[in-house]
Structure formats: structure tokens, C-alpha cells
């Protein structure tokens, strides 16, 4: 959707320019809600299917690294996530440029569900994603925590507000409640409703619960 051109300028796909033209021209629009990509952290989980690995996240000492897995230095995990986030951040930058007056809100993708729950899910997911349950829950959760933190920080710097997953959708350790899974990796319609209520509350405090 957006990329850096060789001369350093930000290039935006014509389709995105066209898409953004309509909400900009709509005087009733109060915000632009985005849910871009979301697979950035997930790509690393897929890597860990083939070559098991873990890492240490200082903020979550309860999610200890598995001693039977290679330990990837935190800075390398960050580097890879930063690379993966680049496309999302460029798109957010493009949105800010094309919609300077419309406040953007980015919806963070849901955290991973426990691996046991994912293993039990069939669903219409790509073949490469099916074995993701082999990656321990803790590894996938740490990747998501790191990713969502980096996304939130970078988006805020671009003037984009980020909405975290609804607290009610999460278990005590931060994973997605299994009943809110659509398939191995996506939230279901019920999860979507919870996010919509959260968005309504964010746009107009006090309305979220009844929206």
C-alpha cells in the first residue's frame, strides 16, 4: 500500500489514495479506523515451527524461556519485528498524510490463544499456519506483546491512536480466550463485536456498552 521510493519519498498505491479520498470528503466521518496487517508477529511464530526458538522478555519474567529451545537475543527479535512492521508503519504514515484532519485509530490484532486451544481448532487457515500450535503459548504470547508494544509506540509517534484488545477478551496471562477463536489465528465474530464496542466507547465515551 505504501513504500519508500528510491529518492526517499513516500509512495502510496493509487487504490489507497482513492480509498482514503471518500472518508476525507465525508463530513460525518469522525475517525478513520484501521486494522492493518497483523501477521507481523505471527511470521516469527511460523519460523519457530520449523526451527524452535524462544527469547526472554524482561517485562514478563513469568514467561520463562524454554531450556530446550535456542534462545534468540531480544535485540534480534526486535530487529525482525521492526522489519516486519515497516510496511504497516509506512501505510500509517501515508494515511496521516492523506487524511490529515481525520483522527486515525489502529486496532491491534488479537493476542494468540493458548496452543492447546489452537491445536483443537480446524478452521480455514493456510497450510503453513496449521502447526503453529507446536510453538509454545509463551513464545507466541511474548512475540505478540513485543510486537504490540512496538506498534503502539511507533504508531503514537505518527499521531495514530492504537486500541489494544478488549480486556474482557483476554485470560489472566494475556492470551485470547479460546471461545473467541475463529480459527488457529483469527478472532471470531464475537471478538469482533467486543472490539466494535470498544471502538464506540473510544469514539464516544459512555456508548460502548450499548453499541
Amino acid at each position: 500500500l505504501a513504500r519508500l521510493l528510491p529518492d526517499g519519498r513516500l509512495g502510496v498505491a493509487p487504490g489507497l489514495q482513492e480509498l482514503l479520498a471518500s472518508p476525507v470528503g465525508d463530513t460525518r466521518a469522525r475517525a478513520l479506523v484501521l486494522a492493518l496487517r497483523g501477521e507481523e508477529y505471527y511470521q516469527l511464530s511460523v519460523t519457530a515451527i520449523q526451527d524452535p526458538c524462544d527469547f526472554v522478555l524482561p517485562d514478563r519474567p513469568d514467561l520463562r524461556a524454554n531450556p530446550s529451545m535456542a534462545v534468540i537475543p531480544l535485540e534480534l527479535v526486535r530487529t525482525r519485528l521492526q522489519q516486519s512492521l515497516q510496511a504497516t508503519l509506512l501505510t500509517l504514515a501515508a494515511v496521516r498524510r492523506l487524511c490529515p484532519t481525520l483522527p486515525p485509530i489502529h486496532v491491534t490484532p488479537p493476542p494468540p490463544a493458548p496452543s492447546e486451544a489452537v491445536a483443537a481448532e480446524g478452521g480455514d487457515v493456510r497450510e503453513r499456519d496449521r502447526p503453529v500450535h507446536r510453538v509454545p503459548t509463551g513464545v507466541r504470547l511474548k512475540l505478540w506483546i513485543l510486537y504490540s508494544g512496538m506498534l503502539e509506540q511507533a504508531a503514537r509517534a505518527l499521531g495514530v491512536r492504537v486500541i489494544a484488545p478488549p480486556a474482557a477478551a483476554l485470560q489472566a496471562n494475556g492470551t485470547l480466550r479460546p471461545e473467541l477463536l475463529e480459527d488457529a489465528i483469527h478472532g471470531n465474530a464475537r471478538y469482533g463485536e467486543m472490539v466494535c464496542r470498544q471502538l464506540a466507547e473510544a469514539l464516544e465515551p459512555g456508548t460502548g456498552a450499548s453499541s
Partner: protein, 370 residues
């Protein structure tokens, strides 16, 4: 007249074996009790000289066992760091003493608790038992711990999986932690950490201690892998510095003599164990010091190539067959020196071995170590 020397082969007699043979052609390695093929899983460990064994095996198309390879993400994102994974079969760094190797084996086997001796330096964490394997350190104490736990798992799996363990004995002098009892590869405060005279104590292992440790190493490794065989060698590289009362030359002689004598004893009493004479090839007076670098300590690449061609020939035999035709012994050209025929093999390029021990000298001369 008959006597025990009467029918012995030429190699049993100094004049016929040594005096009449160019050093390059001298078959110093006695026929080993076992041979190896490319299919055998061979792990390497030991002092910095041991790095050459790994490097030359790879150069000759043999793959030393890799129990702790760099993860694909590390290879992709930090290729320089990934290289450090290939120095030995696992990422233990240089293991200078038998005691250090034994303690590592015990931690890996779970018969000794994992040593937790990490230091923080400028916001990064370092493992004093492997002070140079992660040049930029780990991000946190937890990360350093986690990597050490993974490393020990790899070492355990290595000992369970391999056919042969090649161990280069380097030193008898070492440092240990007075309270926790573990042995360091190098004195804290040189490569990393702070030296604390109360906690960090010097010891120079005596031959009985080295022998006891080496026997324990064999026994305990075989408890994990009963069919494991051993190749021991003694590093020909003298000490960088000694902490004992003697001068460094005399201290080196004592250290190497102890190691050489102990290996001879243990190999003689152990089935499936061999001694490989790296020490003799480089350091024996009959070599005329031809493999020593200008400092008379480092072994030149030419010397290493000679040692390794002997090693490969002794254990792998016809390498061109075993290793798919990629094996080539170094080219030799005869020269004359000191009235003798010597053969000099063509120099080959190779990275210098990484020796933490060198920091003893750098620290003593006030050179910045990092």
C-alpha cells in the same frame, strides 16, 4: 643372540625413525586403535588450538558434529555472531583445563547445578564461564541464564549423540571461585568481570588431579554414551602468562609435561581412547621450531596444516575416498635447513584462533581489552 629389541620395526629406533626421515614425512602418529569415516559424528573441544581441528576438518570436507548451531534467525540477522557458533561443536568457547571440561559435562548431565556466574558491564551481561562467546553480551541476566541453560542442553545432547570426542588439553593453571567452587577458563577481570582476590583463587593442577579429572571425564561421558571414543591431544601452544612462581618458559614446560604424562597414562588404561601428538609435531626439538611464529609461541598456519594433515591421515586414512574427493593434503616442497631435509607445506590462509588467555598479557600491559 636374542633380546627384546632385536626384531622391532624401524619406528622404534630414534636413528632409523627420526634421524633419517624428513620431519614433514615423519609418521609421528602411531597406528590408532580405531579409524574414522565421514559418517562418524566427531565433537571437538579444548584450548584455543582445538579451534584448528574444527576448522581443518571443515576445510577437508568433514563436518564436525554441530550440537549447538546458530538458529536461522541468528544466521540471517547477525552473521558475525553466528560465526561464533562454529568454533566448536557447542558454544562452550575455549576449555583450557580438564577440570573445566569435567565441570561442564557435569552441569550438562545434571549431576552438578548450573553455574550462575554472570557479570554486568555497561548494560550488557556476560557469562564468566564463556566470556568471549557472545562478544556484545546478553540483554539481561535472564537472557544470559536462558542461553546457558540451552547451551547445557546442547552439550548433553552432544555427548549422547557423538561417536568420538576430540579434546585438546591446554593448561594446568586456572582460576576458581572460592565459594561456589567452579573453574574459570580465564581469570575474572581479564576478559570480563572484576577480579576479587577473596573470591577468585589461583590453582595449578598437579598430575594426580589432572589424571583423576580425565578419568572422571571418560567415565562420566561414557555413562551418557557407553560407546563413546576419545582422541586426546595436548596443545603445543605455551602459556601466555603464568601466575605461579616460575618463569613462563619453565611453567609452560611443567604444564605441558603434566598434561602429556597424564594423557599417556589415561590412554594406556582406556579402551577406545587415543593420543594424537600435536604437541610433539610442533614442539619437539627435532622440529627445529619451524612451526613457531615470531613470538616463539603461536603456531603458524603451516604448522597447524602439518598437524592436521597427520591427524586426518591417521584417523581418516584415505581421505579422498571418505570425504568425497574434497580432501587434499597440503602441498609439500623439500627444503634444506640445519643440515637436514625438511619439507615445508604451502601456507594456507586461516583465521587466528581466538584465545581468551591472551587477555592476561593485554591486561598486564594496560592495553584496552575491549
Amino acid at each position: 643372540v636374542t633380546h627384546p629389541y632385536r626384531d622391532l620395526p624401524d619406528r622404534q629406533f630414534w636413528r632409523r625413525f627420526v634421524s633419517d626421515t624428513p620431519w614433514r614425512d615423519l609418521d609421528v602418529m602411531d597406528p590408532p586403535s580405531f579409524r574414522l569415516g565421514a559418517q562418524h559424528r566427531v565433537a571437538t573441544a579444548g584450548s584455543c588450538f582445538a579451534q584448528h581441528i574444527t576448522r581443518h576438518m571443515k576445510r577437508h570436507g568433514l563436518q564436525p558434529h554441530a550440537a549447538e548451531p546458530a538458529h536461522p534467525l541468528v544466521r540471517e540477522l547477525a552473521p558475525a555472531l553466528a560465526e561464533s557458533y562454529g568454533a566448536f561443536s557447542a558454544r562452550y568457547g575455549n576449555v583450557y583445563t580438564v577440570r573445566q571440561m569435567l565441570e561442564l559435562l557435569r552441569q550438562a548431565a545434571g549431576t552438578r547445578p548450573m553455574v550462575q556466574d554472570f557479570v554486568e558491564d555497561d548494560g550488557r551481561w556476560y557469562d564468566l564461564l564463556r566470556p568471549a562467546v557472545q562478544p556484545d553480551g546478553w540483554a539481561s541476566w535472564d537472557e544470559a541464564m536462558a542461553d546457558r541453560a540451552w547451551h547445557l542442553q546442547c552439550v548433553r545432547r552432544m555427548f549422547q549423540d557423538i561417536d568420538v570426542f576430540v579434546f585438546t588439553l591446554g593448561l594446568t593453571e586456572s582460576w576458581y571461585h572460592a565459594e561456589m567452587g567452579h573453574t574459570y577458563p580465564v581469570c575474572p577481570g581479564t576478559v570480563r568481570g572484576q577480579y576479587d582476590a577473596r573470591l577468585h583463587r589461583f590453582q595449578n593442577f598437579r598430575s594426580g588431579e589432572v589424571a583423576s579429572d580425565l578419568r572422571a571425564l571418560v567415565d562420566e561421558a561414557r555413562a551418557m554414551n557407553p560407546s563413546l571414543r576419545f582422541i586426546f591431544t595436548v596443545s603445543p601452544v605455551p602459556l601466555v602468562a603464568t601466575r605461579g612462581p616460575s618463569n613462563v618458559l619453565v611453567a609452560s614446560s611443567q604444564s605441558k609435561a603434566v598434561l602429556r604424562a597424564v594423557v599417556g597414562e589415561v590412554v594406556a588404561e582406556t579402551d577406545g581412547a587415543e593420543y594424537f601428538p600435536s604437541f610433539e609435531i610442533v614442539s619437539h626439538a627435532a622440529s627445529f621450531g619451524q612451526y613457531l611464529a615470531a613470538d616463539l609461541r603461536e603456531v603458524t598456519e603451516r604448522g597447524v596444516a602439518h598437524v592436521m594433515s597427520c591427524f586426518l591421515k591417521a584417523f581418516y586414512g584415505d581421505l579422498s575416498t571418505d570425504a568425497g574427493g574434497r580432501v587434499a593434503t597440503p602441498e609439500s616442497t623439500p627444503v634444506s635447513a640445519a643440515g637436514r631435509d625438511l619439507r615445508v607445506c604451502a601456507p594456507t590462509d586461516g583465521p587466528p584462533a581466538e584465545c581468551e588467555e591472551l587477555f592476561y598479557e593485554r591486561a598486564a600491559t594496560g592495553l584496552k581489552v575491549r
